[in-house]
Amino acid sequence: MSFCSFGAFAQASIRGTVTSSDGEPVIGANVIELGTTNGTVTDLDGNYILKVGANAVIEFTYTGYVSQKVTVGAQTMVNVVLLEGVALSEIVVTALGISREKKSLTYAAQTIQGGQLTQVRDANFANTLNGKVAGLVVTNAASGVGGATRVNLRGNRSIQSSNNALFVIDGVPVDNSTPGQVGNDFGGYNGSDGVANINPDDIESISVLKGAAASVLYGSRAANGVILITTKKGGSGAISVDANSGVQFDAPLTLPYLQNEYGQGNGGAFGARASGSWGPKMNNQALTDWTGKSQNLTPQPNNVADFFQIGSAFNNAVGIKAGTDKVQSYFSFTNNQASGVIPGNTLDRNTVNLRISTNLSKKFSTDAKITYVNQMLNNKLRSGEESSEVMNLYKTPRSIRIEDMQNYESESGAPNYWTSSSIYMNPYWTINRTSADEERTRTTGLVSATYQINEEMKVLARVSLDQYTDRGENTFYNNTLLFAQAGGSFQKYFRQVQERNAELLLIGNKKINNNFKLSYTFGLADLARKSDFTQTSANGLLVPNKFDLGFARTLSVGTGFVERDLQSVFGTVQVSLKDYLYLDVTARNDWSSTLPAPHSYFYPSLGLTAVLSDMVELPSFVSFAKFRGSYTRVGNDAAPYLLTQTYSFSQGGIGGFINRDGTQAIGDLKPELTTSVEFGFDGRFFDNRMGLDVTFYRTNSVNQLLSLPLAPASGFSNQYINAGDIQNSGVELTLTGSPIKKDDFVWDLTLNYARNVNTIVSLHPDIKQTFLSSGYGRTAGVLVKEGGAYGDLYADGWAKAPDGQFIMDASGKPVLTATQEFLGNFNPKFTLGLNNAFSFGKISVNVLVDARIGGVMTSGSDANLAFDGNAAYTTAYREGGWVLPGVVKKGESYTPNTTPINAETFWTTVSNGRYSWGQLFTYDATNVRIREAAVGYDFTVNKSFVKKAKLSIVARNLFFLTKGKAIIDVPGVPTRKMWFDPDVNLGAGNYQGIEYGSLPSARSIGLNLNLSF
């Protein structure tokens, strides 16, 4: 929450104190002289001073309270008691940091206060947004603590570009690129993202602008919606200190359902070197096992669960505010330390933040901020079917003792493993003998200056620089399958990313007459982005396991360099009639270096809001009613370097190779275009005890820049085209209520509901479908197909006869479908979040229930558990006699299947481990869970040195209330319930809906202590 003081041009000075109904001072309440731009905020004791003109009416507003208007008259002292309630004239921070009354907005915006994010924590704060905003879907990459997240608002609109919401801090967009997301089910390491660097303790509030409405001000990156973060600022008056200390413990929320009857082996016989659990019943029989010792064959029910450890996270933050009338400062330091549920996977992050705001003269104010983040991620986890930690673990036969596994290395440095594999290894080898570490240093600086030209107009200039360097090292010990060359392998990379924003804004408002008011913003902006990447790989090490480039047998180097510039002119004008009818008109023109001359594209928008409750007399139970509608167009430029045909140099042969790049250049590249229309209603009822905010929207993204396959015989494998029309339409609904509101007991609830329907209206005149990523044969692929929906998954399946019966071959085995089957869509049909907040005196209780209904996810881990005979459901028909109900095709006729098979034959037919019939391992991703629960006790003692003290016990991902099941029931096998958490995906890119060797999500319980001095 912030309010820009426009300076004072008035005669009389009034002062006073703003308190809440329980006598506590209200800090930071807005005090505004109505009809002017004159205003201030209350200090830490709730005091304010304001010079006002004659006949002034001042309004006191504070988020969460009912505002009050007071006619000053002859008073010099105005004390006000604000009553709690749902704020109507709430101030919302909108694009470019401009505060506006929420009631004037022509688009949907939802606000979250900082406190809602700091109680229940995650190493990447974006994960804590889940369930709190209607229409916001967060999934995270399976790469352990600090991994990237995908934050999507209102569905996916771009086929190949990012569908992530834009994050903006204090008016400045942050680079939230998610480099190196795993985009196929083979897997790899996911990069972190920019949002993970945001320190939740510095957040004052968050506004979520769900549609493209902010695009005119932030440009095309805002087309996926904007998450506006306002950070804390200094205040004048006494020094205040906020300290927060938290500790949290994590354990895996979900693990596979495993069988504990049959031991290592094949065909019912024990095999000391077998990879799976198709061996004999474990009856304590003595056998020589893989260790070479004679041990009894006994179930090891916890050999998977015990591999995990209790993760922990500690955060300590201190924030200091101090200042005078002229200079205010805020300083904070935060340390986060987390270790994940897999040993070795850690995060250590230090954030220093300094902000200085000045009011140097009546007309001149400045704001400067510098944030420094140092983040160290150790032992990032792999995801995917390749030798990831979790995949290696899940492949452990059910009779392997964990203490034997822990002996992962022979004296000669060779890996100890129970089977010979081309890719899988002992998971203890993986965590001890491979590593991926990444250090990020990020500095974000912001300077802005405001000059008040006159009462109605000010100029704001702002320059921000966001720069970070990633320094990574990957090590693979000698003998690591798949990744190590002779002596071991080592890679080192540097990535430097720089983003500079410069803006010049003219902001003003004008009262035309008593009925009409005008406010406007005009601006110029320049956005320069640059990234530079170098990766050096040692192809083998001359001295084994000496991990430095100096030991390399040979080196290979990869580089990347991207530079682009975007210049813009924009303007927005709002006309208001009697403060109940608002019309917004905006327009923007961009010039992008990535487009062909004249580099230019233009996009306008239009919005209208009517506050019905101020226009006409409504029934008394309606406290407030507003209708809004808007139409927005957003243009978007493309990636750089697409206009001219390029040739790449690569290492190899004697002197290297030069190859014409497989993608044909597009000289006549056009900007993408998204149009959106939204209508909404915002109403408060029964003295604000109940609120309803509902939005209907439709967006169409056309002219998308797509890289589509081209017949390779043309010499090119891909071409860029501008095509396609992706439509998203949906509804978002937020219902708030206070069913009980007594002095000693308050119950507030918030319900968020969102449904999005996506349609691929058209793709290309010649090409009607393309894979986002083909999971061919491994799991499932995401096919973008005309008439389909974004996120449709296809995979191999079990063939069915025309009458719907399963088909078997002559030997009784299932038959593969001729073509890939449609499985479902990875997006939820709808999402629901229900937050209940109770407060009984000093105790507050908060419970967030989060539901994701519909959507499917395919699990590659599950396919491996089936193939290896580790899954609980593989125990049926181990001894044979399994006659699958269905038919056998002979010529063109079908006869009933009568041939029995056994479980091993069945499960090794439908899954070959790494490759599988994805349809059989696809689950309905529906789930309802207790997302968050917190109990807080406020033990503040009045008038003591400690102004505020609150202790909370917090929990995240407590348990599931319900979970989906497999989309195919295998006859003779009990219903298979989804055992994994669909929040965790392979990566945070557009290839969603796939679980493969993914780290289980965490159930967390923690303690949080918040003190203010």
Partner: protein, 524 residues
């Protein structure tokens, strides 16, 4: 006082800030073109870059590292039964057609060999050695491609278009003969030149060797069409031999490989993954003949110390049995991979086998049986082929080679998991009837071509030699047990991107677009 100074400095700072913004915002779009030029790449080619293009085309046409697996090893290397799949997760050994892997025997040729070769053909003088080498590499690339699929886009290849027409295999073969003839003519007038120098990864710019290479390739193609077009085959074969084919191992074509950029010897690069082992077919023949090449081609199984192979087409449940496991069967020889005691170390810089003199002798031996003038008698050429192959693989003991040439030994049962009989009953010693002699030539050529599964599968389809085992299980209803795969159907990639052309190509194929439809030159 202090405050005033502070304010003044601040004012100054802000004023410069404002100026900076105005300047940067109004700097306009003049430098956009330069800004939008990728510094990590080239946008203009000069004559300096041409050798690099040639290197790329060579490397792309004979696959490095993982592409070798998906283009060749998971298909033709199995179809020719040099190897059998030991991994449970690869169904291609049971004739499951995996188009997503197979497209790697398509995309590299068209997007990495063809564009560079077309540039070279256009940018170099038609009578230069550089131009001639580009033509030879064109033929080398395309004959391996067309022999998988049949009709492929050829005459219009590399011309940017949304649809590229396919050409019939006959027209393609005729043009390949023409190109080789033209290239040799040009090379004969440029014998002192060293085209591309060390960027020629095969012969280091040695024009005389390239002439032999081109003629041997021409001879190979002539034999390929000997059943469908005997007259043309005779003409081309005799012209090739007259012009001079490979004679000794000094003429052999290998390609330089590098540790850098993943430009590994293909077979070496993938040999560390434990996904294939010696086939029972190789075991039956090499063991039966007590062939000295056994210990060069393969090495003893790490679990048993013995040479062992497994049959093609086993089910996952069969592969899970230990006798079919990786530890119990032979990996490729130490030329490609070495066992450290716990894992395999790929010999990634081992030069890749491209084409060898031994093959030329077997081609001539068969041509002589056809009554063509091959400048030698069939038996002599056959025996010379055996000797040259032995020498190629480092076996120089003349007495041992002579004993082998006269051996009456025949293939033996491989003692595998499915109790296979001996693969065939043919002996090494030159037989008495043309039928036996043809089988002998085919069997010995199969042994000599190792590990080039692309060529071996093509020659098996044409000649039906050697008499390979049927695969144990087929997952493909078009190829029931006892039948052999005849071709790769047109790629799904092509059906998605070049649909009309694929449809038209079915007419050129002379049968349905199925794996059991024979190619033009396959008259079995």
């Amino acid at each position: 006082m202090f405050m005033n100074m502070f304010i003044n400095i601040y004012r100054l700072a802000v004023l410069s800030l404002l100026t900076a913004i105005v300047v940067s915002v109004s700097s306009c779009t003049q430098d956009f073109e330069e800004l939008n030029t990728d510094k990590t790449k080239l946008t203009v080619l000069t004559s300096t870059e041409l050798p690099y293009l040639f290197s790329k085309a060579q490397s792309a046409s004979s696959y490095a590292f993982w592409r070798y697996q998906v283009a060749q090893n998971l298909f033709s290397d199995l179809y020719s039964q040099y190897f059998a799949t030991s991994a449970t997760y690869f169904p291609s050994d049971r004739y499951t057609i995996r188009f997503d892997w197979l497209q790697w025997h398509w995309i590299p040729i068209y997007t990495e060999a063809v564009p560079q070769l077309k540039t070279l053909l256009k940018e170099t003088d038609a009578n230069s050695a550089e131009n001639a080498l580009a033509k030879i590499m064109w033929v080398y690339s395309f004959h391996r491609l067309t022999d998988y699929y049949g009709p492929v886009p050829y005459f219009k290849a590399g011309e940017p278009a949304s649809s590229v027409a396919y050409d019939g295999q006959k027209e393609i073969y005729y043009d390949m003969f023409t190109k080789l003839d033209e290239a040799v003519k040009v090379l004969n007038t440029n014998k002192a030149k060293t085209p591309y120098g060390s960027f020629d990864l095969i012969y280091n710019g040695d024009v005389n060797k390239w002439i032999k290479f081109a003629n041997t390739l021409r001879l190979r193609l002539a034999l390929r069409i000997s059943k469908v077009d005997p007259a043309k085959a005779k003409t081309e074969a005799e012209a090739a031999v007259a012009s001079g084919v490979m004679l000794t191992t000094a003429d052999d074509a290998y390609m330089v490989k590098s540790e850098n950029g993943g430009d590994f010897n293909g077979l070496a690069g993938i040999s560390v993954w434990n996904e294939f082992r010696m086939s029972a077919s190789m075991e039956s023949v090499l063991k039966g003949y007590e062939d000295p090449r056994m210990s060069v081609y393969f090495q003893p199984a790490v679990g048993t110390g013995k040479f062992d192979g497994l049959r093609n087409g086993l089910l996952p449940a069969q592969l899970n049995i230990s006798i079919n496991g990786n530890d119990a069967n032979s990996n490729v020889g130490t030329r490609w991979t070495k066992w450290s005691g716990s894992s395999w170390g790929g010999q990634n810089t081992t030069p890749q086998n491209i084409m060898h003199a031994a093959e030329a002798y077997f081609l001539r031996a068969e041509g002589a049986l056809n009554g063509w003038n091959m400048q030698g008698a069939s038996q002599d050429l056959y025996e010379k082929g055996i000797e040259t192959s032995m020498r190629q693989w480092g076996i120089s003991d003349a007495a041992a080679i002579a004993a082998y040439q006269k051996s009456a030994a025949t293939p033996i049962p491989p003692m595998d998991g499915v109790n296979s009989p001996a693969m065939a009953s043919i002996a090494v010693k030159w037989g008495t009837s043309p039928a036996i002699q043809r089988e002998q030539i085919g069997t010995q050529k199969w042994l000599a071509l190792y590990p080039d599964g692309i060529e071996a599968w093509a020659e098996f389809r044409r000649s039906r030699y050697p008499k390979l085992y049927p695969i144990v299980n087929s997952d493909n209803s078009d190829l029931p047990s006892g039948t052999f795969i005849r071709r790769i159907p047109f790629l799904v990639l092509e059906k998605n991107t070049n649909a009309a052309a694929v449809k038209a190509a079915e007419g050129l194929l002379g049968g349905p677009d199925k794996p059991n439809t024979p190619l033009w030159w396959d008259k079995n």
